[in-house]
């Protein structure tokens, strides 16, 4: 009886297509078509506003984004060939712009900017980037993912373990931890801007109070050294409740009998976690890691509301740059190229994660 039923459903193709039709149409229109368009645009010079026709430009958008070069700077020498040493005992070097601006001997470096460098004896080795803002957005995004993915899943797990107890009023805590998830990220970002305020923000006031006035107020979002960390802390605070709930669902799926058996065997609570809880959470862990990684790569709203990528590009991210270029700078092609690179990165990382966490 049963196999027949399935068969008749499968063979009735028209009804099946009709029912999935609306969904397929919408998915094609709003997901698949834009996705393919972005790929196409990234190989053209498509602009948001322009009377000029769109032209195919090959890979030049990607070359522009990813172009890097190196430059070795020799210290400047006096007329007699000795090194010029300043009062502070430092060597002086020629300016990078002498090589990267209209210098016919260094055509390949034209328009590049200093990204990072190191000393090699007396000489300086510099790595230059054709699109420094993109490079900073790339490294910032990777840094954000590298910090947020492990930290946020760990904190979410700890919270889940804490609220997975049968205590009176535990639902209150569950609700409280979950609350930031329900609030719009834009609202949360606005609120945290006040918390981080450099002069009279809540955080500065709190730290001053706790240190009996010894703490000097920090302009958390206005300082290149602290801005990204401020965003990281706030992002984790906002999103951790959601992943806590997923962990909690995983925890509640572990049969109680296993814990009872462990108790009879005389297992310590660490042993119970290590050999019962953790193996039972395996699939949940894979899911959470993949989801957090993807979400972290999409960092945008916090940046848009709180820092606009500043100060000094310390909070530029890939998605923020894609939107900036595509929309504000009216350069759809440039924004699409960033989106395509981001897609390839997330795809690669997800595949690697899948491979590393596969069932053995």
């Amino acid at each position: 009886m049963r196999p027949n039923q399935t068969k008749s459903l499968q063979s009735n193709t028209l009804a099946g297509w009709l029912m999935s039709g609306p969904a397929l149409l919408l998915i094609t229109l709003f997901l698949i078509v834009p996705f393919l368009l972005a790929f196409w645009f990234s190989f053209t010079n498509q602009r948001l506003i322009s009377p000029n026709p769109t032209q195919f430009v090959g890979t030049s958008n990607f070359e522009q984004l990813l172009g890097v070069g190196t430059l070795v700077l020799e210290p400047e020498k006096g007329e007699d060939g000795s090194l010029i040493v300043s009062d502070k005992g430092e060597l002086s070097y020629p300016r990078v712009r002498d090589f990267t601006r209209n210098n016919p001997d260094f055509q390949h470096l034209n328009g590049m900017r200093e990204w990072f460098g190191w000393d090699w004896g007396n000489t300086k080795v510099l790595v230059l980037a054709r699109d420094l803002v993109f490079m900073k957005a790339l490294t910032n995004t990777l840094f954000f993912v590298a910090v947020v993915a492990p930290l946020q899943s760990l904190i979410a797990l700890l919270l889940a373990l804490m609220i997975n107890q049968k205590l009176r009023g535990i639902n209150v805590f569950r609700t409280v931890y979950f609350m930031p998830v329900v609030v719009s990220i834009v609202v949360v970002s606005l609120l945290w801007r006040f918390i981080y305020d450099g002069r009279s923000g809540l955080l500065n006031n709190l730290l001053q109070f706790l240190s009996f006035g010894h703490f000097k107020p920090v302009d958390w979002l206005g300082n290149p050294d602290t801005a990204m960390w401020a965003i990281i802390v706030m992002s984790i605070w906002q999103a951790v409740g959601f992943h806590m709930v997923i962990w909690l669902a995983g925890l509640q799926n572990i049969p109680l009998t296993l814990y009872e058996a462990a108790d009879i065997e005389g297992a310590s609570s660490w042993q119970k976690f290590r050999f019962v809880t953790w193996p039972g959470l395996r699939n949940t862990a894979v899911l959470i890691l993949v989801v957090i990684t993807m979400q972290a790569f999409a960092l945008f709203s916090q940046i848009d509301v709180m820092t606009n990528g500043g100060p000094l590009d310390s909070t530029q991210t890939l998605v923020f740059q894609a939107v900036q270029r595509g929309y504000e700078q009216q350069n759809i092609a440039g924004g699409s190229a960033i989106s395509v690179l981001l897609f390839l990165m997330v795809l690669t990382i997800s595949l690697v994660q899948r491979y590393l966490t596969r069932e053995r």
Binding site: R47, I49, S50, E114, L132, G222, P311, N331
Partner: protein
């Protein structure tokens, strides 16, 4: 019986529709000021007067919040749904005209006589847009503060020099009475940066782009004058004369009135509020002169006709109708903006000779300079804003200006030098 009455009603209805359609052609209009009931009342007043004054055209209004307005126009243009009459921010107009969203106005000769230069939107020698008002920026100060520290009150003829201005900031800083000597409004990170701060660059002798060709920024934005400007700009922040980019909007809005800042570089739109709070004590002073004359930015929101309008003659007729002095004056009285002609200024409360804000009219007339009139301005403004923020946050001045220059040049090249399409 019943069917008869329905028939009668239908007939009456269709005749009513028919007559109005025959008599007046509908024109649609978009405006950026949704949310301001004063502006709605003013605009609707003009529209009602216009619709009643002739029998050819009937204008209907749709309003948008300012933050979403430009996006809406771009989206509508892509979809081919632009209204007949749009309003446009002055410096953005060349971009829209170049993109083919707008067409030149059909005004009768002499319609713009006596208008402030900042109120006329010209691109490729044709008038595409015209404003009922202009805006101006002034250095807000208190008479009492200046007297206390022995600071000279500058005039249009004899503004503060750059050196004098730096000395004043140092004096005010050293007094220790203020959080900061000067509020530049760094919290307002939009068009304010190029609008308010590019004039300093012009006064130093630099510019966002070379205005002879509009094809390169090399030398204009990273030449000696621009670097000198950049170093001065950075010194404002390293000397703690000015709150930095992380200033919050609330301090920007109330800091000068509360006495946290001694001076404030701000637009005429907060003048009425400041006057109410401080009374006679407040002064609206001209921009300092850093060598190439004191400058402020010109051009505010203006009206234009969309390229797809089927009735550009009607749309232009409406705009010309709106340019009457009484409407210019009404807008000025309503929202505090500078009326576009002297004739209208005489009709207003604040800008008439002897009025409290009269000095702004003179500032607009004497010091206003347009932001670069090129479709590329939209991009140049973004890069300029980024360079200013980066320099304020301690970036190397020359590198930051070089980076902006390169980005602007790349954008110009990407757009075929913004040559008009044929």
């Amino acid at each position: 019986m019943k069917s008869l009455s329905i028939l009668a009603a239908t007939l009456a209805f269709s005749t009513a529709l028919g007559t109005s359609a025959f008599a007046q052609t509908n024109l649609t209009m978009w405006y950026h000021g949704a949310g301001s009931s004063v502006e709605r009342e003013l605009i609707n007043g003009i529209i009602a007067d216009f619709n009643g004054s002739q029998s050819d055209w009937k204008v209907s209004l749709q309003e948008f919040p300012q933050a979403a307005y430009n996006d809406s126009v771009v989206a509508a243009a892509v979809a081919g749904n632009l209204p007949d009459i749009i309003d446009v921010d002055g410096p953005v107009m060349p971009n829209w005209a170049w993109a083919g969203y707008m067409q030149p106005l059909q005004l009768s000769e002499g319609a713009l006589d006596g208008f402030l230069p900042g109120a006329i939107g010209k691109y490729n020698d044709q008038v595409y847009s015209v404003g009922l008002w202009d805006a101006a920026v002034a250095m807000y100060a208190r008479k009492s503060t200046l007297e206390k520290f022995g600071i000279r009150v500058p005039t249009l003829e004899e503004p503060w020099t750059g050196e004098e201005f730096n000395g004043i900031l140092e004096t005010l800083k050293a007094s220790g009475e203020f959080d900061y000597p000067l509020n530049l409004g760094m919290a307002d990170q939009g068009e304010w940066y190029p609008y308010a701060f590019a004039p300093f660059l012009w006064s130093f002798g630099g510019d966002l782009v070379d205005r002879t060709s509009y094809e390169t920024a090399e030398g204009a934005l990273n030449g000696d004058a621009a670097v000198e400007f950049g170093e001065w700009w950075q010194s404002l922040f390293t000397n703690d004369y000015v709150p930095g980019t992380s200033q919050d909007m609330a301090s920007h809005e109330t800091g000068f009135i509360d006495g946290d800042y001694a001076l404030q570089w701000n637009g005429n739109w907060v003048a009425v509020k400041t006057l109410e709070a401080l009374g006679d004590d407040v002064l609206f002073l001209p921009a300092p002169d850093f060598g190439n004359g004191p400058k402020i930015g010109g051009a505010s929101w203006q009206f234009g006709v969309s390229a797809t309008s089927a009735h550009p003659d009607g749309a232009s007729a409406f705009i010309e109708f709106a340019l009457q002095p009484k409407y210019l004056a009404a807008f000025s009285d309503g929202i505090g903006l500078i009326p576009a002609t002297a004739e209208a200024a005489a009709l207003t409360k604040n800008y008439a000779p002897g009025g409290a804000l009269e000095s702004f009219y003179a500032l607009s007339e004497k010091q206003a300079m347009l932001r670069p009139v090129t479709p590329g301005y939209v991009f140049e403004a973004l890069e300029f804003r980024k360079a200013l923020s980066d320099i304020a946050n301690g970036a190397d001045v020359v590198d930051a200006l070089d980076a902006a220059t390169d980005a602007i040049n790349a954008d110009i090249a990407r757009n075929n030098n913004y040559a008009a399409a044929n």
